[in-house]
Symmetry: C2
Amino acid sequence: MAEAATRRRARGGGGAARRAERSAVSVETAKFIERKIPNFEILNEEALETIEAHAETVLEEIGVAFVNNPAALERWRDAGADINGERVRIPKGLARKLCSTAPSSFTQHARNPDRTVEIGGRNLVLAPVYGPPFVHDAAGGRRYATMADFEKFVKLGYMSKWLHHSGGTVCEPTDIPVNKRHLDMLKAHMTLSDKPFMGSVTEPSRAQDSVEMCEILFGKEFVQDNTVMTSLININSPMTFDDVMMGALEVYAQNNQGCIISPFIVGGAMAPVSVAGTLVQVLAEVMAGIAYSQLIRPGAPVIFGAFVTSIDMNSGAPTFGTPEASQVTYGAGQLARRLGLPFRSAGSFTGSKLPDAQAAYETANSLNMGLLSGVNFMLHACGWLEGGLVSSFEKFVMDADQLGALHKMAQGVTVDQDTLAMDAIAEVGPGGHYLGCAHTQANFKSAFWRSEVSDFKPYETWSEEGARDTMALATERVQYLIDNYRQPPLDPAIDEALTDYVTQKKASMPDAFM
Amino acid sequence: MAEAATRRRARGGGGAARRAERSAVSVETAKFIERKIPNFEILNEEALETIEAHAETVLEEIGVAFVNNPAALERWRDAGADINGERVRIPKGLARKLCSTAPSSFTQHARNPDRTVEIGGRNLVLAPVYGPPFVHDAAGGRRYATMADFEKFVKLGYMSKWLHHSGGTVCEPTDIPVNKRHLDMLKAHMTLSDKPFMGSVTEPSRAQDSVEMCEILFGKEFVQDNTVMTSLININSPMTFDDVMMGALEVYAQNNQGCIISPFIVGGAMAPVSVAGTLVQVLAEVMAGIAYSQLIRPGAPVIFGAFVTSIDMNSGAPTFGTPEASQVTYGAGQLARRLGLPFRSAGSFTGSKLPDAQAAYETANSLNMGLLSGVNFMLHACGWLEGGLVSSFEKFVMDADQLGALHKMAQGVTVDQDTLAMDAIAEVGPGGHYLGCAHTQANFKSAFWRSEVSDFKPYETWSEEGARDTMALATERVQYLIDNYRQPPLDPAIDEALTDYVTQKKASMPDAFM
């Protein structure tokens, strides 16, 4: 708390009491996770080699489709692929060779240098939910998302200590025209937060707008030399690379901006029902996508993505936090590391309609698996509900709180003279207790991760306070964070230039809602 | 379902419709988990050796206390320990040497041989919550547990496919005198279920009663030659072995019955605040306890136990599903394997007062950690609420459902010509979908684990059906399982003999409620 307070600048307005209260709110952001624990390796060497060999066969014999994109076909032809219509068949070894120019890790700069993240290696960067058209909270239920909701999520993300990244489409602001909402979304990330963020991918021109807005925020030269966005390029599984996504990838790669290249797989629908078959397809798809990014610009920063869910074969509904999805993710992490690429997967996944026990089981399954599978960039790390149709305010803060546990877990176990605590064991002895001993007194503040949402009070106290469940506690937490939100400072000239850019862009075209 | 139906025997009574409905209910029990995935190893060799060396130092220099137990002190003296009052100092190497006669795995027989479990090796046996004085459900809230509640939990355990073990004190039947309730509890496990169970440990005489009741159920000779109970012997951490628990251990070890020998640690109170220090103490305690069991009877079956929670240093409340508890458990698993002993830890732990999101996050954290840490016997695997004060009916079935995911996860990833699914990938090709392809049709029934509690329906359907949260769905599931419960058959002569034993024992002493 004190640390947070010293980081805050005194501001005008409001009484001393309110200032004191506000300055007591933590707006510190934890550094991205640097793992000191091993990864969980579910596949042995033979299994990995078999999957890799089969992925090469898929690329060579079945191939992938680059649709509505003659220039991409030309690039592939020049690189040595066999082109037949829109089908690109890639000789064994070629995709992997092309992938080798992609960096094993890269720096994504934030406008606040303290928030800059390093994506790759042993690191884990956490970013919020992406994409839902609906929002949900206890007071308003489920409803279409608006720009006001979007801004509220960006503020919550800024106030969330364990979240390193502001994300992208934290919800779809459906009250803003489709062809203009990216402008408002980017401006919100740029001005309401100082954490790193994602660019637009819904049209190549919007990717270009994202780059131009970053040039205003960071300076044109800085953007030429540095990565300031990491954007989400989904592969249309199975094995289809559409022109919109590839167009956005082309813009970002040309500008040396980061992209997650990610199959979007509901197992049994967009990939085989088996884990091994899904891994073959995921690897083939990602290698083709990353190879293509390197054809655009060798060295362009990219992430090996794997969005994988399973399916309820009775209803066809996607299911989340399931063991099969975990098995795919553990395996995909191993494959990504063998390619020497940063890995994106996992998130606060659930199929539940409410932030209830189902939601939390599924989310915890997925978050734990994400940590242990070696994920480097976790999109959807908080706030996801109902299979990604809904961004939940309460679940956002509930999940964001749980991310603190991942930080602590990742620190691993230090074994040294202090932590071995032999003096304490001798001091306390059989039948004693440790609460008052010197070692406990010296270490208790940092010894245990502490939730800021969960309730540990005795039953009677909890009961007197209203017998609140996690949802009710989270509703309060959302309000607390929003009440205490203060906008991070930004050069007024930059703010004005961004506003001008958005105004002019919006004026340059009619509204479109499709 | 069909498989379950064929396992059921036709019974008299009731109409055909009711029989058909009942026979459709699954009463199959999954085989205990046989892991085909690696363990997660958080400590390296150097850390493990350091912790082991320090545990030996603790035993030699600080020692442990065996209180009110002169015979135990005599046994230790004969074995070579240094005795000073009730303090037992164990020379380096002695405890580990004594532990070496304990088996690395053992068979616990159930009266239904299909339910017999193998505890140790790569296996994981799941048993329900143990010990709470309260129960909770949606209809009745939180209240003192009764024998009727106890029986209901035993029935739920019997009906839970993923639960291999009927457990012990699934709740404390507080309406039965303290000195007699073990008789009713054991009779319930023996007659309402056919899964393996635990014996009483609250007095050595009650352990003896447990053995005698097993002699009725299994036959006297069978019990002499076989392990038919696994009972819970808690160490009074730090480093105190009380006469009640040791007395029960002595009875069970003499009779070759299984015991979990388990420190009960709230970190920071009963052990140092540091993970490494806790591991030193846990190892010292367990080695002393298991060594003692082997002094009673070399070869007696035992389990290396570790019940570890952390503490909220602000309030002193125990906290569950935390990263520090996971780190201790991962480490303890490694230490247990190096001792060549079965390992007990983890469970459906939570500090929450309700089966809400907090409960599920904490439980899922703990269940996943339990699977990956190599636990062989997981007590409290379902039904635990409010730090172990409460057995929750709804949470019992919610957790028991999640245990299915552990089974699937533990199967690992099979990589062979069928699972690689190359024919399917070729058949479907870029842009196609897998739902109808031959590989999916051949494999979809077993491809994905399916929850029997969670909801995956579309929002509109879910909404029309009452917008039920997990708690509401679980309430229905509890009722469904109880409605469909049918008692497993038991030789009427054995049933009568058990009743006679309980009646006579109860008549032989006045009621005691302390």
